[in-house]
């Protein structure tokens, strides 16, 4: 009887083990399953690559530029007969799909990537270098904004953003941080008079961080159109949001996150400490719950008229100009970020790459260059896709002359500030461990935001954790 019980118990324990472990490993299992499932179709595509009926499979971010790509892919099929399936997914899923597709040699030809993944995947020889194809098809890469193209280049050196190198993709959209401000509030005569009386100088879009602080303090708590408004907002949530905003402060104060010569974390320099303290201190002029603000909350508060200023991505401006959802259509203007020592906004951007495992690399490249040609760069912007990556697009009359529906307000009025920002903007640290670096630093910044650690302590601990990671 006891022996039977023992057997039963062991059997049930074994089953529980299997369930729990299966749950832990289900993703890797999925990866191998999907690769196995796709290997059949991969060989099918390989054979069809030389024929007329090529089908490309791409995975794009489920953002506006991904949706625009889906639409344009239909036009491409009509023009060339090449079918392009575009799957739209979120950022996390995209990263997993890319890694597992490469590991499992799945049948994907194009991936839309956040640029910080390029050094990581290029360093493991997982992305197709495009230099030969660029030469073969005579693609003029000088037409792209230099800092947009630099997001796709990697010369194998850590921190080498802007130093050239092998081209692994083409940029699809860029969006540096801009300072958003409510022009109607800044131009209001009463606000102007009150501001001058309090601070002794004219109220204008801030050019320095000291002016930004004054303006944030001045507007914070005011009641506008029956609703309380806050001085400013920006992404501040743990994850990636807080790192993204903080980098703009850090870069603008002349600091860098890593000493690229020694590969040691450099977050405890006086410049980094000053920048971080400034940012943390300014959060008191932000809405309650700011430490949980992601991209969506900033855009939503701006559209609902709850903010006087924001430090936010250029591309997101469409959200405040949408008459269906915004109470502030045409009221926002955009300028360069206020300078600490100088104005160096953090640059975000998404590029298109071809995994080395693609069976239709050449066809994928043709689609990619078609998607990012002069006409389609403008078309994507008009479709609400994202900010253009070609220099000439910024002076294209189709964009400069476009108005918000039913108004006389320029739809792309941010382009002047954006073009200026693209001359000084800087990418996130350019090295293969960037994703892990960001997560590590984010946690300590979050501790400083919540006052659980002093800025100095948080940065020192972040230094320690990053150095451990870099070993």
């Amino acid at each position: 009887m006891n022996r039977n019980k023992g057997i039963k118990t062991s059997f049930i324990l074994l089953l529980v083990c299997l369930f729990v472990l299966s749950a832990c490993s289900s993703k890797s299992d999925q990866g191998s399953a999907s690769s196995a499932a796709s290997s059949g179709s991969a060989s099918q595509s390989a054979s069809s690559a030389s024929g007329a009926n090529v089908t490309l499979n791409g995975v794009f971010l489920g953002a506006t530029w991904g949706q625009a790509t889906q639409e344009l892919a239909k036009e491409y099929e009509k023009e060339t007969g090449v079918k392009v399936n575009i799957e739209l997914v979120g950022r996390d899923v995209m990263y997993q799909k890319l890694a597992l597709a490469i590991a499992g040699q799945a049948n994907y030809d194009l991936f839309n990537v956040d640029y910080n993944w390029i050094p990581e995947f290029a360093s493991t020889n997982s992305l197709l270098p495009l230099d030969d194809l660029i030469k073969k098809y005579n693609v003029d890469t000088s037409a792209y904004l230099p800092r947009a193209l630099a997001l796709t280049q990697w010369n194998g050196k850590n921190g080498s953003f802007g130093e050239g190198g092998t081209i692994y993709g083409l940029p699809q959209t860029i969006h540096p941080h801009l300072l958003w401000y409510r022009a109607d509030l800044f131009n209001d005569p009463k606000n102007k008079a009150d501001f001058k009386a309090k601070y002794g100088y004219d109220l204008a879009p801030p050019k320095t961080m000291a002016q930004f602080k004054d303006a944030a303090e001045f507007f914070n708590g005011k009641v506008v159109d029956g609703q309380k408004i806050y001085g400013w907002a920006a992404q501040a949530s743990k994850g990636f949001g807080n790192v993204h905003t903080w980098l703009s402060f850090l870069y603008s104060n002349g600091a860098d996150v890593i000493d690229w010569n020694t590969m040691k974390s450099s977050l405890s320099t006086p410049q980094a400490i000053e920048a971080t303290k400034t940012w943390v201190d300014l959060l008191k002029y932000s809405p309650p719950g700011i430490n949980d603000y992601t991209f969506a909350e900033v855009a939503s508060d701006a559209a609902q008229g709850k903010l006087a200023m924001a430090i936010h991505w250029s591309w997101s401006a469409f959200e405040v100009d949408d008459p269906k959802t915004s109470k502030t259509v045409g009221k926002w203007e955009f300028v360069q970020l206020p300078a600490m020592k100088e104005s160096v906004p953090h640059l975000a951007g998404w590029s298109i790459v071809i995994p080395k495992t693609s069976k239709n690399a050449e066809e994928a490249f043709k689609f990619m260059t078609w998607l990012e040609n002069k006409q389609n760069d403008v078309k994507q912007a008009l479709m609400g896709g994202g900010d253009p990556v070609r220099t000439e697009s910024y002076s294209d009359p189709a964009l400069t002359g476009a108005k918000i529906d039913g108004t006389d307000v320029q739809r792309f009025r941010r382009y002047t500030a954006l073009s200026e920002a693209m001359k000084t903007t800087k990418a996130r640290p350019f090295f293969p461990q960037e994703e892990k670096w960001e997560t590590t630093v984010s946690e300590y910044l979050s501790a400083a935001q919540f006052g659980k650690m002093s800025v100095e302590e948080a940065l020192a601990k972040a230094d320690e954790a990053v150095n451990k990671m870099l070993k």
């Binding site: 324990l13 089953l15 472990l21 832990c24 743990k238 719950g289």
Partner: protein, 294 residues
């Protein structure tokens, strides 16, 4: 004799095909997981060297792991205990309802039918500091607004409340099934002996339900231990790391940093913890069984 043998082996024969399939589809990932927990393994790496116990030694020196273990323990103990208490109370009430049992059951069961991601998103909206319905009612009742998801002291309780809302009905339905299976005789006997309602509950209901309670606790504990989706939708492990559970750091290591080897080591440790707990419950179940057969 032949019949006896068939009676003994019959159930195993019937279960065999299912079990074989389960083992086939589970055994490989499990062995693979165990193997890569001893490797520096990334799916995009050209080489994935064996590193012995390095992943495990690093794990025990990682403050994130100890924090996640603490958060997981608080989460599991709080949710399972409260879900059990509320579930049992609801089951007893429902069992005594003269009418409307089915309707009430259907309504109460709705949360289980919802995907955890949907529940997470729903509660994220409800607990939004500025627009959330929860703060609206708090203000109506004269309380101040709370930053439910970004306050260091409220974020974990917010997750616990969400889990309780979704999974208490599950506990309730299992316990209700158990209550319905208790015969009337023991209650009648206790009543004749002059037992009070509390004594009947303590000495009749609870012992009769003990096996069902063990199963309910077992299932909910395993499930609570693996919580991930709700955290993803509501707090993403923050603020700072107050809602980072073991599953959350497994995800971070595996799918954010592609450090599958390290992630696998965490999974193995999780497994050891869960299996230890299961053994404990099983032991108790065996004890009950032994007591019952005496």
């Amino acid at each position: 004799m032949k019949k006896l043998r068939l009676a003994r082996t019959g159930p195993y024969l019937v279960m065999a095909p299912g079990m074989i399939l389960l083992l086939l589809f589970s055994i490989y990932p499990v062995l693979f997981l165990l193997k890569i927990s001893f490797q520096e393994y990334s799916p995009i790496s050209i080489r994935n060297p064996f590193v012995g116990f390095a992943n495990y030694t690093n794990l025990f020196q990682d403050h994130n792991f100890w924090n996640a273990l603490k958060v997981t323990a608080i989460f599991v103990v709080s949710t399972v205990a409260l879900e059990f208490a509320i579930g049992l109370a609801l089951a007893i009430i429902l069992n005594r309802l003269p009418i409307g049992q089915r309707l009430f059951q259907s309504i109460v069961l709705l949360p289980i039918a919802m995907a955890p991601t949907v529940v997470g998103l729903m509660f994220r909206f409800m607990m939004n500091e500025q627009y959330g319905v929860l703060n609206y009612f708090m203000e109506l009742l004269g309380f101040s607004r709370q930053a439910w998801l970004s306050d260091l002291h409220l974020a974990l309780p917010a997750l616990i409340i969400t889990d309780i809302w979704q999974w208490t009905p599950f506990m309730m339905i299992i316990l209700l099934a158990g209550l319905k299976g208790i015969p009337d005789e023991p209650y009648e006997a206790a009543s004749i002996d002059g037992a009070s309602p509390w004594q009947m509950f303590r000495y009749v209901t609870i012992p009769q339900l003990s096996r069902i309670i063990s199963i309910a606790l077992l299932l909910r504990t395993i499930d609570a231990f693996r919580i991930y989706d709700t955290i993803y939708m509501m707090t993403k492990g923050g603020p700072i790391n107050v809602t980072s559970t073991l599953s959350w750091i497994v995800y971070d290591q595996g799918f954010k940093f592609l450090e599958f080897g390290y992630g696998a080591a965490i999974c193995v440790v999780m497994l050891i913890i869960v299996v230890s707990f299961i053994s404990l419950i099983m032991k108790r179940m065996n004890l009950f069984e032994a007591e019952g057969s005496r």
